[in-house]
Amino acid sequence: MNAALGIGNAACGAAVAAATLLAWATAAAADAAPAASVSSWRTDSAQSTLTFYPTLSGGEFEGRFERFDARIRFDPARPLQCALDVTVDLLSARTGDPERDTTLAGPEFFQAARFPQATFAARNCRPLGPQRYEVTGRLELRGETRDLRLTLRFEPPARPGQPAHMTGSAVVQRLGFGVGQGEWRSTEWLADAVRVQFDLRLLAAD
């Protein structure tokens, strides 16, 4: 834009903003949706994954929880008012080896007979950058509750009515929760840190 047009700039900007606002308001009205954007979500379980990556004798492998549920309240305009409530069925951990899955669910690891679920609850997502946030919540696992910090990314729906997409990761120190008893308390062959990742397809739950 050259200097001669400089004076027009502010007015032009204001006009564009007003027009955008008007278009947005019209679209929202036409949608006959509530004035606020969607902020309550439930996971589309067929399209969502929760994976974990233990390090076994220096090499990582992937495991996944086949049954989990995440109820999410998240509005990018008000990230601090977010709420993440996740429940994980520990008996649904799968690693591709039935024998290892049994060990994992057993008394030395999850002790799922006594503690069938892990839960995670977090509030106050703090923005880190475009679509990126961090949040510290409480993870309850095997009878222990500890803080867990997540970094996450939230992509709002491309168009109203479409699913939103939330991905993120955390590092769980397994020994803080007693996951690994007896000889498995040693970290020489099984590392303490276990990376956890999630990829959620979120459907409007309003």
Binding site: L56, S57, G59, G96
Partner: protein, 183 residues
């Protein structure tokens, strides 16, 4: 002892690779058998980590050995009748093939079972194939079958070397032995 092969003897690098591979392969059977007996636990994990690490080392050394074989054309002069030379070449070819196929089948089996393969935990090799429990069990059979086949070929290899040394009294065995002096 020269690094490269001469007309009379293998060079030190070929000898080193030959005997290093022998020393790495011998414990493999015992490590795998012992690990197989154990319940899931640290000890089993430890033994399999050693088994897999030694196996990957064999694979790497075998690749170097084959590379060196082609880079180092001055092989010791062949001995024996034409049919014996052909049999020896076929036997060696089969042996190289088995030495490569054995670790590769184990690597694929670990990958199918979603078990990481590392070199003593220092370095992780990527998974060769995706997780597949049925395929893991099939590959376990292949891995055991290849081992039996390797035992047979190695037995013939040793018998032939001893036959050359004690019956024919030629230099075939001696030229691959460490510290062998020139005649």
């Amino acid at each position: 002892m020269p690094l490269r092969n001469t007309a009379d003897t293998y060079g030190s690098l070929a000898k080193f690779l030959h005997w290093a591979i022998v020393l790495l392969i011998v414990p493999q059977y015992f490590l795998a058998e012992a690990a197989d007996e154990l319940p899931n636990g640290i000890e089993k994990l430890q033994l399999f980590t050693w088994h897999k690490s030694l196996g990957m080392l064999v694979l790497l050394l075998a690749l170097v050995r084959i590379g060196w074989k082609f880079a180092n054309r001055g092989l010791p002069r062949p001995v024996g009748e034409p049919w014996q030379r052909k049999a020896a070449a076929a036997g060696h070819g089969l042996l190289y093939l088995l030495i490569l196929a054995q670790p590769v089948s184990g690597w694929a089996m670990s990958s199918a079972g979603n078990y990481p393969v590392t070199l003593f935990g220092w370095f992780q090799f990527p998974a060769l194939i995706g997780e597949n429990h049925d395929l893991q069990e099939a590959l376990e059979e292949v891995h055991e079958l290849l081992f039996t086949l390797m035992l047979v070929v190695v037995a013939v290899h040793i018998a032939a070397a001893l036959y050359h040394h004690f019956i024919l009294r030629d230099s075939v065995l001696r030229r691959m032995l460490p510290y062998s002096r020139k005649e």
